[in-house]
């Protein structure tokens, strides 16, 4: 029997060829969350109007984010016989001129910045987009398609090797062999706790009860992190393929996957839904996937505003429609999870690596990164940084290579003061940590954590106690209230820091906060366990700044309490 995937692959090739070596101009608008915040809807509008006014038959696509968020709105244009040229900081006005001068007449307007180009560059006068300094340390595995292909078009994904891993697994591998590759890869969870994914999958594989569930965690409540939403809005099929592979590997035929995301994130939600619909339409989801006896469904599950709903057992409560409060463990999810059935929870990024691991082998993946942190990290840079954005770098690169060489360092000649990593449950690192390699365990040992990948950069004008107070307030607001130590403790910590940053702190209170942190360790989930991380690590590295806020210390001026 001919493999039904062959036909999909052929069609995808044809669709992409018409985009890559086009007969008509191809225009792509960077339209992820950052593109949107930079004005992509208006740019798209202006492009379409100008094309109509000039009576040009061009094809307009959208893409997700390239990661160079500082340069949005990024518009790339491939004219017939020309490379694909990426323009940055495009406004509606610049979009109009790109159409009138470049698309219509082949002359790129001089005042529109060119980031670079891809395709055949010889004699074009354009430099390779990926030779830019922001890409020097990057190794784009899960973000390879981001900003390049249209996330609403399944053919673009398939043309870039998409669903090949699913085909390979279904037709050439037993479930246990897929797990073997994931175990070999040493893939660790990207949602915070860095637990080996293969081990969890093995538990679920061995469970004998059905149906089995896969929960793809895209709650991403961490301030400063946007990589989960980025993947869903830029390359949703990769996430979906990862979840289906999870289903196959764990013998979950007849079961279901849920992609869990907070209501209101319209771009990632709508694109993931569109991608699911397309996958169903082409036999990649549902009954008898690609004609095999493997059946699996995937559905979006929307949650409300609640940070703790991202915690794995609270997430299951939320999918069941209840308050997102953590459950006792054991039983562990692989034994009794969603609706009491065997379940596996992984972060979006974790699932997204699996297609590459299956396609290229666990050993390939294990060859990237450090001894214990394999593969790449999706780093989200924001705060006092010249080129805020999302960068995929192999573990083992130093923070300096990320912050200075990739992100362009602190702007305006100011000195770097701190890195706040891992979200509100993460911590602070001082400027002296720049030579530390990116590594799950190394960063935890230093009192911070890599967590979900957000790094907020602070220069010398940003107050560490003030940022600590903001994070403590977040943790207090977001305690779900189930466990007394966390419910009361997070509030106490936040109140003390609030008083301190307004000049009413005391040494006794500061000492008490450290003890409260220890008592919170008796909470059910890591929200309580880690809620004192910001103050602990902040105080560890910036003690004098906190001490200066105490009445016995030098009086602090009201202005210095401000974040800036």
């Amino acid at each position: 029997m001919a493999n039904p995937f062959e036909a999909l692959r052929e069609q995808a090739k044809a669709v992409w060829a018409a985009v890559e070596t086009p007969q008509r101009p191809q225009i792509f608008v960077g339209y992820g969350i950052h593109g949107q915040a930079a004005g992509a809807p208006d740019v798209l509008d202006a492009l379409k109007k100008s094309l109509a006014a000039e009576a040009i038959a061009a094809e307009v696509h959208i893409t997700g984010g390239l990661g160079l968020d500082f340069a949005e709105v990024i518009v790339s244009i491939a004219l017939p016989g020309k490379p694909r040229v990426y323009f940055s900081d495009v406004t509606p006005e610049k979009a109009r001129r790109l159409v009138e001068e470049y698309v219509a007449a082949g002359r790129a307007p001089l005042d529109v910045t060119v980031l670079g180009a891809t395709g055949t560059l010889d004699g074009s006068g354009y430099a390779d987009l990926f030779s830019r300094p922001e890409f020097k340390h990057q190794r784009r595995i899960v973000t390879a398609n981001c900003g390049v292909t249209d996330p609403t078009n399944i053919w673009h994904y398939i043309a870039h090797g998409g669903y090949e891993a699913l085909r390979k697994a279904l037709f050439e591998m037993q479930p246990a062999q897929v797990i073997e590759q994931v175990q070999k890869s040493n893939l660790r969870g990207r949602g915070g706790a860095a637990f080996p994914a293969g081990m969890k999958w093995k538990f679920l594989h061995d469970a004998t009860v059905s149906p089995k569930y896969h929960l793809c965690n895209s709650e991403e409540g961490d301030s400063g992190a946007f990589n989960d939403k980025h993947l869903l809005e830029s390359d949703p099929h990769r996430v979906i393929e990862g979840v289906i592979l999870g289903g196959y590997a764990t013998r979950a035929s007849g079961g279901k996957g849920f992609i869990f995301i907070r209501v209101g994130w319209d771009l990632p939600i709508n694109r993931a839904q569109k991608a699911l619909d397309e996958a169903y339409a082409h036999g990649l989801l549902g009954k008898n996937i690609l004609g095999t006896d493997f059946s699996f469904d995937v559905e979006l599950s929307l949650t409300g505003e609640s940070y703790v709903s991202g915690e794995e057992t609270a997430l299951m409560e939320s999918v069941e429609g209840k308050r997102a409060m953590p459950r006792y463990k054991p039983p562990f999810p692989a034994a009794s999870g969603l609706w009491g059935k065997p379940s596996n929870i992984n972060n979006v990024k974790t699932y997204s690596y699996v297609p590459s691991i299956v396609a290229q082998g666990g050993d390939w993946f294990a060859g990237i990164g450090t001894q214990r942190s394999k593969g790449t990290a999706l780093v989200c840079l924001s705060g006092s940084i010249a080129k805020p954005g999302l960068y995929e770098v192999p573990f083992g690169v130093t923070l300096r290579q990320v912050i200075e060489e990739t992100g362009g360092g602190v702007p305006n000649g100011r000195p770097l003061k701190f890195l706040q990593t891992g979200g509100p449950l993460g911590g602070f690192l001082p400027a002296s940590s720049l030579d530390m390699p990116l590594d799950f365990d190394g960063m935890v040992a230093a009192g911070a954590m890599f967590g979900s990948g957000g790094i907020i950069v602070g220069d010398d004008a940003v107050s560490v106690p003030k940022i600590t107070a903001i994070l403590a307030e977040f943790n207090a607001e977001e305690s779900c209230g189930k466990c007394f130590p966390c419910r009361v403790g997070t509030r106490q910590v936040a109140d003390v820091l609030e008083r301190m940053t307004h000049g009413h702190g005391s040494r006794a209170e500061l000492d008490a906060v450290m003890v409260i942190g220890d008592t919170m360790k008796s909470s059910l989930c890591a929200h309580g366990h880690l809620a004192d991380n910001p103050i602990k690590s902040g105080y560890r590295y910036f003690k004098s700044e906190f001490d200066a806020l105490l009445p016995s210390g030098a009086p602090a001026s009201a202005a210095s309490m401000r974040p800036r």
Partner: protein, 157 residues
């Protein structure tokens, strides 16, 4: 059951739970309208008490209609580094209310967001559901005036 609520509850395409029903109602009406809680209880077989417990847990649910215009400003640390407090002040002055409230004439709702997910373009706001990055007090003021002139906004946040 109010037929309008019934219609919303019946047109859900995903797994139906207490939470999914509440989300569907708020997405359609902008808030949890009168009759929503018993309707969800009836639809799902949960107790009214349980439905309330869910509706009061997730912080985006509201029992009052939102203002005609939504002004949401990100309050995450990256945005605060870029002085989202100054933006908040600007918005408070414009609407004549305090942070996290609705004007008595129901014209504006002003709210802080924990993180708008566009940290690389901080500070960020959402005006009638449209994300805007790299805000300054001046740019915000211009946008707010334009918003006022544009008339009714959506109730999506």
């Amino acid at each position: 059951m109010d037929p309008k609520i019934q219609k919303v509850l019946d047109s859900q395409t995903r797994t139906v739970t207490v939470l999914s029903c509440l989300i569907a109602i708020q997405e359609s009406f902008g808030y949890l309208v009168e009759g929503a809680i018993p309707a969800v209880a009836q639809r799902t077989g949960a107790s009214v008490n349980d439905v309330y417990s869910v509706a009061t847990f997730y912080t985006h649910f509201r029992f009052q209609p939102p203002g005609e215009h939504q002004i949401e400003l990100c309050w995450g640390p990256s945005c605060q580094i870029f002085r989202s407090d100054a933006l908040m002040k600007q918005a408070e002055e414009f609407a004549g209310i305090k942070f996290n409230g609705t004007t008595p004439d129901k014209k504006y709702t002003l709210r802080g967001l924990e993180c708008a997910g566009a940290c690389a373009l901080a500070p960020v706001g959402k005006l009638d559901g449209t994300l805007v990055g790299r805000l300054t007090p001046e740019k915000l003021r211009e946008r707010l005036i334009a918003m006022r002139q544009n008339g009714g906004g959506g109730h999506h946040g």
